[in-house]
């Protein structure tokens, strides 16, 4: 694991040089030269921070849906089949450091997965019995089975996964992407986040997971509710008709035009005039985007909208599809709320916990993949499945019984589908029992670099100057996983 480097620089200058020398040509300047953004100088592009921008290079993916499997999904119970763990079931894991997980005093013996694994599709990718629906789509998925991270604790690991640092300070992936690319539909938010709608809390660290950090506030994620008014202030105030509001806005337009005449050539003033027109259009168009009831029955059924246990997540997946269809750049949906039984955090009983949360999401996500595919949108929509860390192959004792699994920063699993990824492949491996990433290990920076790459953005060139330093999402690390890129 790379040692933490506060300043985003590493000690070994040779390594840094090497890293930077891999950067490639200087086309970044040309492509992003409209982005003259710096701390405090947002005014220079106050015109429209969300204007569509050309990426550095070619990227198949135009938009992203990240299904954030919150709480730490167990790789050895989902996609990373470990026959070695079956054999070693009940044995002690030699040399295991009890402080690896969260509960150092409840470490039990190795525990084989309570779920049955089978190979699926033409590619023969393994999937556990948790995913009867998703297992039919493994040929679309590119697995990363050697993910590891820096923290064994939810919020630092969540911050890592979202922002690349284990602290609360930096912009998240969605913010970087919208900063780099703008959006395709000015009438909808560019970056949308949906969290658990069943009152099970927000992910640890709350809104900092979709915050824009030191990037201008315009790039923070918009938190969209799946019920009621999805975005604040979309509804006209009571007692005002559309005609009356239109008249009012026309009057504002007149006031502004007169003001602009006295201050010609002021970009900010012009931009603000336009923002009112955009707002009006958003108010007209956005509600339609969230009207999933208008979807035909077979689509609703495809996502599992009528099935009680997964209805809430189905709604969110369907909303996500409708949003990306209309040009929203980045959508992130959190499965599960806070910790323990409220998310994939199966400390007490892994079987029960994962059965529940896989049950909530399996059919909706499978529906989303199928639906995107049939609409021809999967090819340029990147779908990501993954969370903050994996779980340990050793059990966590619960009431003395070896039924749970604790956090595992050393190993975890991701998959990506669509958006230029190579379906039916698998990259990297964990050790025999799934304790640590062992072959072709992958850090979160590598995943971030790959996401940006698929979008046509060079992770080494997408930078922002803040407090005297040029920051990147990938810090000084990050390696594009070309093996999973088609």
């Amino acid at each position: 694991m790379k040692t933490e480097n506060h300043c985003g620089r590493i000690e070994n200058t040779y390594t840094r040089r090497q890293l930077l020398q891999r950067a490639g040509g200087g086309i970044g300047m040309l492509a992003l030269n409209s982005l003259l953004l710096e701390e405090g100088l947002g005014a220079t592009i106050g015109a429209n921070p969300m204007a569509t921008r050309q990426p550095h290079g070619f990227g198949r993916a135009k938009r992203v849906i990240w299904l954030f499997i919150n709480g730490g999904p167990s790789h050895v119970d989902t996609w990373d089949y470990k026959p070695g763990l079956v054999k070693a079931d009940g044995k002690k894991l030699e040399g295991f450091d009890n402080t690896t997980g969260f509960f150092d005093k409840a470490v039990g013996p190795l525990l084989k997965s309570p779920f049955e694994f089978k190979q699926h599709g033409q590619s023969g990718m393994w999937a556990s019995s948790l995913f009867p629906y998703l297992s039919q789509h493994v040929d679309k998925m590119a697995f990363i089975k050697s993910f590891h991270t820096q923290s064994n604790n939810h919020s630092p690991a969540l911050f890592m996964a979202n922002t690349g640092v284990p602290r609360m300070s930096n912009p998240c992936v969605g913010s970087w992407v919208t900063y780099g690319l703008g959006t395709e539909n000015q009438n909808l938010p560019a970056f949308v986040v949906m969290s658990d709608p069943l009152n099970r809390g927000l992910p640890k660290g709350h809104a900092a997971n979709w915050g824009s950090g030191f990037l201008p506030g315009a790039y923070q994620g918009t938190w969209v509710r799946s019920k009621g008014e999805p975005i604040p202030n979309l509804k006209r105030i009571a007692g005002l008709s559309d005609m009356q509001q239109r008249a009012q806005l026309n009057f504002v337009g007149k006031l502004n035009a007169a003001h602009e005449k006295r201050h010609p050539g002021e970009m900010e003033l012009t931009a603000r005039i336009r923002s009112f027109e955009l707002a009006y259009r958003m108010q007209q168009e956005a509600p339609e985007c969230f009207e999933i009831d208008s979807e035909p029955e077979h689509i609703k059924s495809l996502y599992g909208l009528e099935e009680k246990r997964c209805s809430h997540f189905a709604r969110q997946c369907l909303m996500a599809r409708r949003m990306v269809e209309r040009g929203v750049r980045f959508v992130q949906i959190y499965s599960g709320g806070m910790e323990n039984a409220r998310s994939w955090d199966g400390h007490g009983n892994i079987q029960k916990n994962h059965t529940q949360f896989a049950g909530e999401t399996d059919r909706p996500i499978a529906g989303l993949l199928a639906d995107l595919e049939q609409r021809g949108m999967l090819e340029d929509t990147l779908v990501i499945w993954g969370g903050e860390f994996g779980r340990l192959p050793v059990s966590q004792l619960s009431g003395g019984k070896p039924t749970g699994r604790d956090h595992n920063p050393h190993a975890g699993c991701y998959w990506m589908a669509g958006g230029g990824t190579r379906g039916g492949t698998s990259y990297g491996e964990t050790d025999e029992v799934g304790h640590k990433a062992a072959v072709d290990t992958v850090e979160i920076h590598d995943i971030h670099a790959t996401i940006l790459h698929l979008l046509g953005l060079n992770h080494e060139e997408l930078t922002y100057l803040h407090s005297g330093r040029r920051f990147r999402l990938t810090d000084v690390a990050g390696r594009v996983l070309h093996d999973i890129v088609a």
């Binding site: 927000l202 900092a208 315009a218 806005l249 900010e268 003033l269 009112f276 707002a279």
Partner: protein, 983 residues
């Protein structure tokens, strides 16, 4: 004035997307003429290129420094390139970015921030590269192949930000002298600009009228002064500082627990700015108020600064130590960026890449915060908010008036007579020193120890150390009428644990002290000692009990003293024989190891034990030196200074002050919980929800860490400061944060000059839109350079010269032509936008201070919103509120449709529009009135017609509902650009 704001300050090198060097270029394949070319190249190198590089490049890119990781001192380093990638491709000048930098064809232009090299020099470099870029020898000895720890050099200290302030300003120095400004804006524009800039609120329409009609020469100055005195000033300017202080009221991270009592820090800032607290004190208290003035509620509130950063509340054991270093880093990094515009935090894992800050400086400073924790403590705030008994408040006011009155009138007379008497008596004292050290005719140890006289008049015992002993010290009396004796037992490294006793543990045990003069016994009384061990008091030496004694455990290794009074001084005459008998009959070998005896003919009550000067002495000395150095030139400032020093010495002043204090202490105590930052050994640290109880709140020591990694600990770090900002001896109080506070405000030996530069730049920025240094949080090499360096230094100098009065700097700027000039419109910040709407709607609740709320329906000023990190108030966040995670010197300004949606549809905004409409309902001409209130001007004829047309149409469509129509109109007025952009 246009030249000042919005000018191109940023070299494009600092912009996004700095091109990385192309890697497609390869060195030319060696051809047949390779050797020949290299020889030519070498000739060019020795003839020209070496000199060019040595003069222009090596200072930053070779030897001591390799900025941007680029070292051209050797060919190897040159070809290795740096952070920007490849620099030179031998044989291919067109693919060598170094050349483009020199030609100023590509950023960063080199030499950085210097003029371009001469054309023939660039041509030589180009030719040299094209021939193969040969070297004959490294450009500097021992090039940084294996760089040692960073050395801070005198040339580092000469960098503009770290250098002392210039002080040779022209006689006529003023802002107008430094900056040629355009013509002034119209009075109405200025009234509005001043009101928003100083208070964050719109001016009352009648105030605008009054100002526009005021033709007196000092109309502007008067308005400035009036606004500076408004309590709204503090509320406006505190918010600027809160951005810098990354202030919030929750921990952040997992649970984001509230810090319920953190708002007191916000109140401290408001109060401090309103009362024009000297900026050095403002800084000192935020760093160490709890150490410096623990009884002062303001000083305690100020320490909220240190604890305002994020902190994870759920920690696993393996993270605990890193988290603690993160927390300390947050304090230090915020002090660095916020107060010194220096990115100290960047030296945590390695020596700073750009600025002369070695990692060891970082950890030395960090160690000051080793035990610093957050704590909720009870503080009596009655001195801040006098509530309750009005009678008492009146008495207090009277007592204060009496004190102030005496300070203005009687004090000066008292000072003059005191000073006269002092001068006369000091001549006396010179003749008659307080203590005369006795030089013995004989000093004998009964048990056989030997004594060696020391240069300081003491006597060091050596040789045998008998179990029990008696010393006899004989000397002539130096004067008549001796009134006191002083016995000193002094430390010395020759003794166990430094003494002052010869016992195994360094202790003494003096059982009896007897004195005779001319053969007559002299009775000793009223003994006092610097320290006495429990059960072994100094009084035991004169109790005629040979067993009881005076001892010093555990204060070893220190000097000790005891004073005894002579009860019958007249019995002893000058020249008579004084005999001191010291008996050590209490404990084995507990004999004094280094003895000194002195006598005094002064009043014993006034004699000091430890030799240190009393506060009164210090004040007297200071007064004396001020008078001396004034050489007869007394100005008002010096007079004020002298009186300030004299106050505590004046009996009448003390009496009046005592009266006031007594009355104030009678005020009902207002005990309030306040979140402070203080020493975790002394206060109860705020506990967090953690996975186990074994995680400490802090660790005993701070170590040097390799790469910032807590698993790679080096030695324990001891307190130190940034070397580049230290000159000569910097005083170091024992308490770490007080030491930082002293150093940072020290204008001689410490960082005081930079501290002043940084704050005047911030003030300038908020008034003029852009700082003299455009990067307010980074004055380092990566930051911008000052556009007007002399002006910056002059303002900083003015600040220090005027006892760090910030309002003085505000006045200087506000009364300048640069400030008054015509300007382009600027958008108001989040708080001012919302407060403006509240003000014009007359819904504003002016209540100051106290806990805030997250409710968007709050009608108080926006600074009273609670700042909860995970739930930033949406309307504020929408208008670019800071993230409150790290120090922010300058907010960004974005324009988004979600902002417009707030103006269009937010129910709170509508409520304000309705409030505004209600305010207008009685007006005969609501349109004109609306313009006067919202825009500070009257509408033009065209505007009047347009507005009336809109109102008529809207009223019709609302079925004649006038209020609704007027509300729509007001909503539009508040949505328009003119409402939130000020000129």
């Amino acid at each position: 004035m246009n030249t000042l704001s919005y000018k191109q300050l940023w070299p494009a090198a600092l912009l996004i997307g700095l091109p990385l060097m192309s890697l497609t270029g390869h060195a030319a394949e060696p051809g047949n003429d390779h050797a020949q070319k290299m020889a030519q190249s070498l000739k060019l190198f020795t003839g020209q290129v070496r000199t060019i590089f040595s003069e222009h490049c090596v200072r930053c890119h070779g030897g001591e420094k390799t900025r941007s990781d680029f070292d051209l001192a050797t060919r190897r380093g040159l070809l290795a390139g740096g952070e920007l990638g490849v620099a030179v491709v031998p044989g291919k000048p067109a693919e060598s970015p170094l050349l483009a930098y020199l030609q100023h064809a590509e950023e960063p232009f080199m030499p950085l921030k210097k003029t371009k090299l001469a054309a023939q020099d660039i041509a030589a470099v180009e030719k040299w590269i094209s021939l193969g870029a040969a070297y004959d020898a490294p450009l500097v000895e021992q090039s940084a192949a294996e760089p040692g720890p960073m050395q801070v050099t005198e040339s580092d200290r000469a960098y503009w930000a770290f250098a002392p302030l210039k002080d040779n300003f022209p006689q006529e120095a003023s802002i107008d002298h430094f900056i040629k400004a355009g013509g002034p804006a119209a009075p109405r524009v200025l009234a509005r600009r001043l009101s928003f800039d100083l208070t964050g609120l719109p001016p009352a329409p009648q105030e605008v009228e009054r100002f526009a009609g005021d033709t007196s020469a000092d109309a502007h100055e008067k308005l400035v002064n009036q606004l500076l005195e408004s309590p709204r000033f503090g509320e406006r300017w505190a918010r600027h500082w809160l951005d810098v202080a990354r202030f919030a009221e929750s921990h952040g991270f997992e649970q984001d627990y509230d810090r319920k009592f953190a708002f007191h820090y916000r109140d401290f800032v408001i109060r401090a700015l309103n009362e024009d607290m000297p900026y050095d004190r403002f800084v000192r208290w935020q760093i160490a108020g709890d150490e410096l003035e623990p009884k002062n509620p303001m000083a305690m509130m100020a320490t909220g600064f240190l604890g305002a950063g994020v902190f994870p509340t759920q920690i696993t054991i393996s993270e605990a130590e890193r988290v603690r270093y993160d927390a300390m880093d947050d304090m230090l990094a915020t002090i660095g960026s916020g107060m010194l515009a220096t990115t100290i935090g960047c030296a945590r894992c390695h020596d700073h890449k750009y600025d002369p800050i070695p990692t060891r400086d970082y950890y030395r400073m960090l160690s000051a915060f080793t035990t610093t924790v957050r704590s909720d403590v009870d503080i009596d705030m009655s001195a801040l908010d006098a509530t309750g008994n009005t009678d008492l408040n009146k008495k207090i006011a009277d007592a204060k008036a009496a004190l102030d009155g005496y300070g203005r009138e009687g004090l000066i007379t008292a000072f003059r007579s005191w000073n006269k008497a002092r001068l006369e008596s000091s001549q006396e004292t010179a003749k008659n020193p307080e203590w005369v050290i006795l030089s013995p005719d004989s000093l004998i140890s009964k048990g056989g120890a030997t004594f060696t006289a020391q240069p300081d008049g003491s006597h060091l015992a050596g040789g045998k150390n008998p179990a029990l002993d008696t010393y006899t010290f004989t000397a002539p009396a130096p004067a008549d009428n001796l009134r006191a004796i002083k016995l000193e037992a002094l430390a010395d490294p020759s003794m166990n644990r430094g003494g002052p006793g010869r016992a195994k543990n360094g202790n003494i045990a003096l059982s009896d002290l007897k004195l005779s003069c001319g053969g007559r016994a002299i009775k000793l009384a009223n003994p006092r000692a610097t320290f006495q061990q429990g059960g072994l008091p100094i009084a035991a030496t004169i109790d005629n009990n040979a067993k009881s004694a005076w001892a010093l455990d555990p204060q070893f290794g220190k000097d000790h003293a005891a004073i005894f009074e002579l009860t019958n001084p007249s019995d002893c005459k000058a020249g008579q024989k004084l005999v001191f008998t010291l008996t050590f009959g209490n404990n084995t070998g507990h004999n004094i190891g280094r003895l000194r005896l002195s006598v005094s003919s002064h009043d014993p009550a006034g004699l000091k034990l430890d030799g240190k000067a009393s506060p009164a002495d210090l004040a007297t000395r200071k007064i004396d030196s001020l008078i001396r150095s004034a050489k007869g030139n007394f100005d008002d400032k010096l007079r004020a200074r002298l009186l300030e020093l004299y106050k505590p010495l004046d009996p009448k002043w003390r009496e009046l002050e005592g009266n006031l204090a007594t009355l104030e202490s009678g005020r009902k105590k207002a005990i309030t919980k306040v979140m402070i930052s203080s020493d975790g050994n002394k206060v109860k640290p705020m506990r967090h929800h953690t996975s186990s109880g074994s995680i400490p709140n802090f660790y005993k020591q701070t170590h040097f860490l390799k790469r910032g990694d807590t698993r790679q600990k080096g030695e324990v770090a001891t307190l130190g400061f940034l070397q580049v900002l230290s000159r000569g001896e910097v005083p170091r109080p024992e308490k770490g944060r007080s030491a930082i506070a002293d150093w940072i405000t020290d204008t001689e030996a410490g960082a005081g000059h930079l501290l002043a530069r940084v704050i005047v730049n911030r003030i300038w920025q908020h008034y003029l839109g852009e700082g003299i240094v455009a990067t307010p949080n980074d004055f380092g090499l990566q930051g911008a350079e000052p556009t007007h360096p002399v002006l910056l230094d002059w303002l900083a100098h003015e600040l220090i010269r005027n006892e760090w009065s910030l309002k003085h700097i505000h006045r200087l700027i506000l009364n300048s032509n640069a400030y008054k000039a015509k300007r382009r419109p600027r958008r108001l910040e989040a708080e001012a936008i919302r407060d403006n709407a509240l003000a014009v709607s007359e819904l504003l609740d002016g209540k100051m201070y106290g806990p805030g709320t997250l409710s968007e329906g709050m009608l108080r000023r926006s600074i009273y919103f609670m700042i909860k990190r995970s739930k930033l108030v949406p309307v504020m966040q929408s208008f670019d509120w800071p993230d409150s995670l790290t120090s922010l010197g300058r907010r960004s300004v974005t324009t988004t449709s979600s902002q417009a949606l707030i103006f269009i549809n937010d129910p709170h905004m509508r409520r304000m529009a309705e409030g505004f409409a209600k305010r207008l309902s009685g007006a005969t001409d609501p349109v004109t009135e609306a313009y006067r209130i919202a825009y500070g001007r009257r509408p033009s004829g065209e505007e009047l017609t347009g507005a009336r047309d809109f109102l008529t149409g809207q009223q019709q469509s609302h079925n004649g509902d006038k209020h609704k129509a007027l509300s729509d109109f007001c909503g539009a007025i508040m949505s328009a650009n003119e409402f939130i952009y000020i000129e």
